[in-house]
Amino acid sequence: MSNVAIDLNGVTKSFGNKVIVNELSFTVASGECFGLLGPNGAGKSTIARMVLGMTRPDAGKITVLGVPVPARARLAREGIGVVPQFDNLDLEFTVRENLLVFGRYFGMSTRKIKAVIPSLLEFARLESKADARVAELSGGMKRRLTLARALINDPLLLVMDEPTTGLDPHARHLIWERLRFLLARGKTIILTTHFMEEAERLCDRLCVLEHGRNIAEGSPHALIDEHIGCQVIEIFGGNPQELSSLIRPYVQRIEVSGETLFCYAPDPEQVRVQLHGRAGLRLLERPPNLEDVFLRLTGREMEK
């Protein structure tokens, strides 16, 4: 097996005259967690479908696990596990039956599937729910079952489309912990998310998407250093326009988003001094994160 799990080269896809994915290129190395970060409508799910060979690109080349996709997608899929954005578990069946039925789609014998089910249930922390119907499971449990289902063929690569969207924080942390466990065992993961925290915690590298275009790529830390590189002060309350003209000389850059002022300040103390004594202002100083990178790159209400 080569050390490249996924290679996209100049991939373009349109529906009608709407360009969804625009000359996109990236490479995912074996064993890494690669994130596609972008808002809704940035083309993330379409990219996931193209990697699986379920949608053919209009132009460009895709190679997954060493085989061309979609031409030989069936072969590629033997080594892929999928966690889709919307649960598509089989509601008529129990947890155990879902795994059994899905294993058969991979051509596994009943005996072989039954042999791996206990370890999958343990992995998904669903041992006590083995004979519960899917309809009785909570949202987090369904996601974990979907994850267990994706592992039935012992895949090299996991394709996950918004794996924790719609989950409560506890359930989300459990999924993240399970994913890190899989990464430690050498699995490759490509995941789409609009969750900055998820991308920051899990991904070795990520690609920031806007309108199907790759607008930045790198490790979360490198992206933060490159695009922000200093402390962030969020200021709420007060008139954003007035405040920004007051502190502009003391900061690197200011962005206004709604009622909040984001100041990228190499020297936060200077800003505090300027605002000292003003009533009704709340200041929050924090390290920069991917959200800042994203706001910066997609240029929402940005002031120079």
Binding site: G81, F93, Y105, N153
Partner: protein
Amino acid sequence: MGEDFAAALPANAWNWIAVWRRNYLSWKKIALASMLGNLADPLIYLFGLGTGLGMMVGRVEDASYVAFLAAGMVATSAMTASTFETIYAAYPRMHHQRIWEAILYTQLTLGDIVLGELAWAATKGFLAGTAIAIVAAVVGYAAWPSLLYVLPAIALTGFAFASLAMVVTALAPSYHYFVFYQSLVLTPMLFLSGAVFPVTQLSGPFQQAAHFLPLAHSIDLIRPEMLDRPAGGIALHIGALCLYAVLPFFLSMVLLRRRLMR
């Protein structure tokens, strides 16, 4: 494009079995209710029409009316059961429940899924038709040995109608459209195909049209066997049903690929 279509066809001769087994596992949980539901309708027609109307019309084509009707009901129940399985069960699996989408994550192709669904719907048609045939044999409207020849014809009927219904499934934007297929295609077919009265009662053009209807071919295979008459044109009838099983399969593949894999 052609290459893509080839890749969506069944990958081998056995992948579809996994889909069939999924549906079988699901059906096993409600088998009794499902069988009763499938049986009740044709049996009510058979004995309701057969005895009531039978007294008025007397003998038809040299058989009692109930015996004549029994063969029609065998074919009709196979048609109905396999059609309904495809439009009311396979359709939600494809559409709302996204079960087909989950299957497409595996090494199965769209063709494997469609073939598995057709085989399952044909199985349900086979069960429904066979149950009526057995009832007919029990009450003496058919000779037991004739069932040996009738059963394969029932299975083929199930396949042909599953395949036709798959085209409707591939096209339907929602459940509401299935009623058109039922009332504008299946119900007229019932009356044009000789299920409840002989085709010879129809006027010329309708008789001509009947030659093209799959249900007519199915009845022409089943009825002579059940009434112990010499059958004619067996190869033609089998050939026609095979065409109705195979051609809509490919058409539905084209339509479903466009719907699911754009």
